[in-house]
Each structure stands twice: as C-alpha cells, then as structure tokens.
C-alpha cells in the first residue's frame, strides 16, 4: 500500500516535471502559430482612422473670439471688417442637418469677408484620402441683397486642398466652366443649382494624376466661403457633410445600378451606351449620386445625375 502511494507520488512528480519542461516551449510554439494564423487569415479589414475627422460637423464648442459655437474639430479662420458678420450654426434645412455658414458683407470697404474651416490630414489618413473617393453635400443659397442689389461676383463657396506646394480649388458655381490650370494651382468648377442640395465628387486623385503631381503625405482640406467688398448683403451656404467611401469597381457599379434604379433620378445631359465610355473604370457612385458612370446599363459620362431623395444611399 505504502509502496503504491510512493509510486503514485513518483509518477505525479514525474508528470509535473514533464509539464514544467514542456509548457514554456509549447507556449512559444502556440504563440507563433496563433500569430501566423491570425496574420494570414485576419488581414482583410484594417481599421484606419478616417481621412476626414468629424465629417458631418457633430462636435461644436464655444468660440469666445467669434462668439457662439463653432465646429470643434475644424480649425476656424476668418477675416471681416467692423460692420461685417460671420455666423456659423447647426441647422436643419430642406430636411437635412447641416452646417450653416452666413456672411454679412456691409460693403463699407473693399475688403473680402471670408471664413475658412479646415483640418490637416497626414500620414495614413492622407494616404486613405487618396485611396478613396471623397464627396460633399452642399446647398448654396442665392445671396440676399439687404442693402440694395448684389453687385460684383457675390459670394464664393469652395473646397480647397493645399499640400504646401499645390492647391486645388473646387468652386461651387451655377454655370460650369473649364478647369483653370497653372503649374501649382488648379480651379475646378462644380455646377451647383441654387437652393437645392447637391452632391459633388471631389476628385483629388484625378486632379493630382492629371496635373502629374505626386500624392502628398500631408494636405489641408478647407471649406471656404467668402464675399467681396462689393457683394453687400447676406450670403449663406450649407454643408451637410463629407463622404469618403471605398473606390468602386465597374462590377460593383453594375450591382449598384440594380439597387439604384428604383430611386427617382434626374439625368442632366445625353446618355451614351456603355461601350461608348472611354474610361469606364473612372465611373463612380457616391452615396446614391454620381458625377459620372452608368445608370441602368447606360453610361452618362461627365454628366451629373441628380437624386431627389437626398441623403438616401444606394
């Protein structure tokens, strides 16, 4: 009996010794296997920080200099004369939550009144910005000439990007115009109907490629609204928000067509057959609205397809 107990103890001790001998190396092997398995199988989705922070202007903080509240994440810069006014507020217009930018130009001098809301995008966020498609929902109100008729150019509403060397200005205008080009500066005119929400693709990648500029590591993105000294009165613009989405392929565009066909759309321009598209790979779908691409198998190249159901996403 005593002998068998002693033998059990000996076995137990020997097992324990074996466990102690094997645990450390087996742990190392286990960790290597898990890391290897995870690395080969779990690469699909990376969660990078978004290129544009607070894209829908949800965060507001007090601004003692300007008075009232202003978007927290977006750096505010402005210029105004004594009688001019700048107002920023959260509002709902035409059923959409929006950032409202109002400028009152009193016309007492020739100075430009402007407001700029910007953020700097760098590192992985800048790379993501150039890998994805950016768009913006805007609504531009006709200026209100409170002190007589609007003179001069009225207001200018635009999105500006600047990488320290190159500047892109995407201007929201009533009448489309050719891209204005200089070695380090391009101005792109985006046709915008007054008083209606419109979605615009901000084609950074295309513009950089066409200009043969190298995509930067750091870029500033700004919303600028300004009124010249002669544009007296109230000027109002609204931004619902930015969208940054994964680039779509032609196949995914066709898939989207099926889902999208039920949405009421207004097609501006002449449709072309899909095989007439010279650059189908550049066709884009953006939050239910596209600046160019296919609809029901028909290509609308370089035209704007408007959607009456604002905010509805395909």
């Amino acid at each position: 009996m005593v002998q068998s107990r002693a033998s059990e103890d000996e076995n137990g001790a020997s097992n324990l010794k074996r466990v102690r001998k094997l645990t450390a190396p087996l742990s190392a092997v286990f960790l290597i296997l898990v890391a290897g398995f995870a690395f080969t199988n779990l690469q699909a989705k990376t969660e990078y920080p978004p290129p544009i922070l607070d894209p829908e202007f949800n965060l507001w903080g007090s601004n003692p200099t300007l008075g009232g509240k202003t978007p927290m994440v977006w750096e505010l810069e402005y210029e105004k004369s004594v009688g001019d006014q700048i107002l920023l507020q959260e509002t709902v217009t035409a059923d959409n939550k929006a950032l409202e930018i109002q400028i009152f130009q009193d016309g007492s001098d020739d100075n430009l009144t402007y407001v700029r809301l910007g953020q700097t995008i760098d590192g992985i966020r800048a790379r993501a910005l150039f890998d994805e498609e950016m768009g913006i929902w805007v609504l531009l109100q006709a200026s209100c000439a409170c002190k007589g008729p609007i003179s001069g150019q009225g207001s200018i509403f635009e999105i500006e990007t600047n990488d320290g060397t190159h500047t892109l200005d995407f201007l929201f205008v009533e009448t489309a115009a050719e891209v204005s080009i200089s070695p380090s500066h391009r101005t792109i005119f985006l046709q915008t109907s007054m008083g209606e929400w419109g979605y615009h693709s901000i084609d950074l990648v295309g513009q950089y490629r066409n200009a043969q500029w190298k995509p930067p590591d750091r870029i500033s993105l700004s919303i600028i609204f300004s009124a010249s000294g002669s544009a007296t009165g109230w000027h109002t613009a609204y931004v619902h928000g930015f969208s940054v989405t994964k680039k779509t392929t032609l196949n995914s565009i066709r898939q989207h067509d099926a889902m999208f066909s039920s949405l009421p759309v207004t097609i501006l321009g002449t449709p072309l057959a899909i095989d007439q598209c010279t650059e189908p790979s550049q066709a884009t779908y953006l939050s239910g609205i596209r600046s160019s691409g296919t609809l029901n198998g028909v290509c609308h190249k370089g035209l704007i397809v408007d959607c009456s159901e604002l905010g509805r996403s395909a």
Binding site: A38, F39, L42, E47, G61, S62
Partner: protein, 418 residues
Amino acid sequence: MTKPDSLFASIDEVFILRLAFIFSAQFALYEGFQDYNRGSGHPEVIVLTLVIYGVSLLVFVMSLLPSSVVLRFRDLPLLPLLLVMVTSVYVVAEISYRGAYRTDVLAFSHYAAILFVNQGANPYTQDMTKALDLFKVQPSDLTPLTSGTYLMTFQYPALHFLVFVPFVLLGLRDMRWVLVLFELGVVLTLYLKGPRKLRPMLLLPLFAGSDLMINFTAASVSDALWVLPLLFAAFCLERPLALGLFYGLACAMKQTPWFIAPFLLIYLIKTDESKRLREKLWPAVKFAATTVAVFLAINLPFMLPSPTAWFGNVLTPMTEDLVIHSQGLSSLTEVGLLPVGKVFYTVVFASVFLVLIVNYYVYFDKLRFAFWIFPGIALWFSYRALTNYIIYWTPLMLVSMILWYKAEQAKTRTVQAT
C-alpha cells in the same frame, strides 16, 4: 546611552542613501528647469522654481556630509521629489495647458460627477459632448471612431466619477488635484511600507522620467485612481477579504485592473502548496466573492436602471469602433506597415494573456512575484496599447519587491534561528 545609527548601518546602506539624495536632487533640478521654461513670466512659477533649486542644492550638499548626518536625514529625498511633483503638475496643467483637460476621460468623469450632483443623472445614459466645451478639451485629445465621429459617452465603472463627487461638492474646479492626492497616497504608502534602510531607493523607479508621476497626471490621465486601491490590495495578498475589498474598489475605478484577476486567483490558490485543494480554493472564493460584492455595490445603482447603456459603455473598447492607436505592436498598423485588422490584435492579445496565465500557474514558484506586469505585457499586443496601460503597473511591481524582500528577510531569520 544609545549608539548612533551609523554604527549599525552598513557602508552599503549609507552609500545607497547618498545615491538617493543625489538622484532626488538631480531630478528636482531637472524638473525645476523644465518648470522655469514652461512658466517663465509667471511670478509664482519663478518663486516655486527658486524653492526647488534651493532644496536641490541643499540635498546635493547633504548627500556628501558624514554618514551620521545622512542617516539622520534619511527621509530627505522625499522632499524634492514631492515638491517637484506638485509644482510640475501645477505648471503643466495650469500654465502649459491653460487649465484645459487633455483627455476626454477626465472631462467626461468630471462632467458625470457634476450631472450626478446637480441632477442625480445616470451618466451612462447621458451625452458627454458638453464636457468638451466645459473643460476646453482639444479635438486632438478625443477618442476617434472609425466612422470619423468621436466617443461621447462615459466609458468607465461608476467609481471613476463617484470619486469626484465629494470634490465637486467642495467646489474643486480641476480634478487633476484629486489624481495628485492619489499619487501622493501611492508614494507615501510605498515609502512607509518599504524596508526602512532602502526606502528612498524604492521611489527612484517612479521618478525615472517625468511621465508616471507628473506629465500623465498633468495631462489628465486618470490611472492613479486605480493604482492606489490596487496597491493596498497588493499589501493584503495574504488576507483574501481585504484583498477582495481593495481589488473590488480598483476594478470599480477602471477596467485596467480587471486583467490582473486570474493571476491573483492563481496566487491565492498556489501560494501555500502544503494545503489541501479545498483549503487552497477557499481564500480564492472569499476573494472573488468580496470583489464582486464591492464592484456590484458601487455599480448596481447605475447598472440596474439601464443595463444596456452600462454594459455598452463600460465594454466600449471591445464593442465600439475605436481606431487603432498604440505605442505597442499595433503601431505598425497605425503607420501602414502591417495591414491587419483589430481582430488580429485581439487574437494575439488573448493568446498572450492565456499563455501568461498558464505559465504563471505552471511556474508559480519562479514567477510568484512577477505577475503585476503581465497585464501590461498582454495589453502591449492589443490594438490600443497606450503607455499608461503599462507604466502604471510600476508601483505594483515595487510592492512585489517589498514583499519579496520581506519574505527573504524572514527566511534568513528563520535559518539563523535554527
């Protein structure tokens, strides 16, 4: 007639004390200079800087006086260290940051305490956006989500805001001073519990750099809140009820100490191998029950009215789409060198954690006192591996050193007696 200390003290002890004198004086001088630069133009900072320089010079001189003097003033290194700790937190918080909180954590917790005091509101159901304005939190200090928005909820167990309630009632405007109180508690507890002849040396790891005791607190990192109760818990390892009480309090402060739970259980089970299994399990059961009771006593009043909100908020790191942000392994993904998702890091973290638990159990005799850094090691592999997840375990490792030292001392005495 008693013999002077110097006759009993070894040459090594005096040498160590002299080193501690010089270290503390040197550290104070360094921080004093930093404060001078940060706060030049502020008369009160200049006065404080002069005091710091004066104390530093005094301690420098005293480090090289005769052994009897060094031994008589053996506690002197505490003075420059505590002085610069408080001064630097003031200068960084009030002058460099102009009183703004540099984390959403403290802003939300302070705001939650205000809401609780003024309206009796349950912070887990409240939007915390107003706190950002109230405490001037900068956008760069917020917690971004992959959607481009930010975390705007209170994400910690209830004691993390309840601890501020008395101070809100007292009218304190900056809760960083509560964090400083907790830090002072940590320093003094370690000092008083440490072996007398090595006390000043015990503090040196806490001040090996300004982050742990100064910069993080000044920047509103709130981890000191759980370190102090966990420190008390660490000194009660042999008393399961007291251990459970203090550990429950630490867990009710923040989620970080939750990760030490399996190691504490193993410690309680394996600490005395001579006992039968039932006897070994009993302390672990007592500890676990006390911990759960304390944790629930504090959290249930907020958990019961809205369990979904409570769980959703407290489990935020596991449930929300926080972006990868790290000084750990996942920093490779942050800069685009390793294109893997959060789930990769979660799997690796869980595996490392499991391996540490198994190895702690198997090699308990060797790793007995090493477990305090294990959560820091595992968290370093997670997708959010911030330095404060690691650095705040340092005081707990010092407790291990003290306990180890005392155990060795007791063993030596036993051997000598036999």
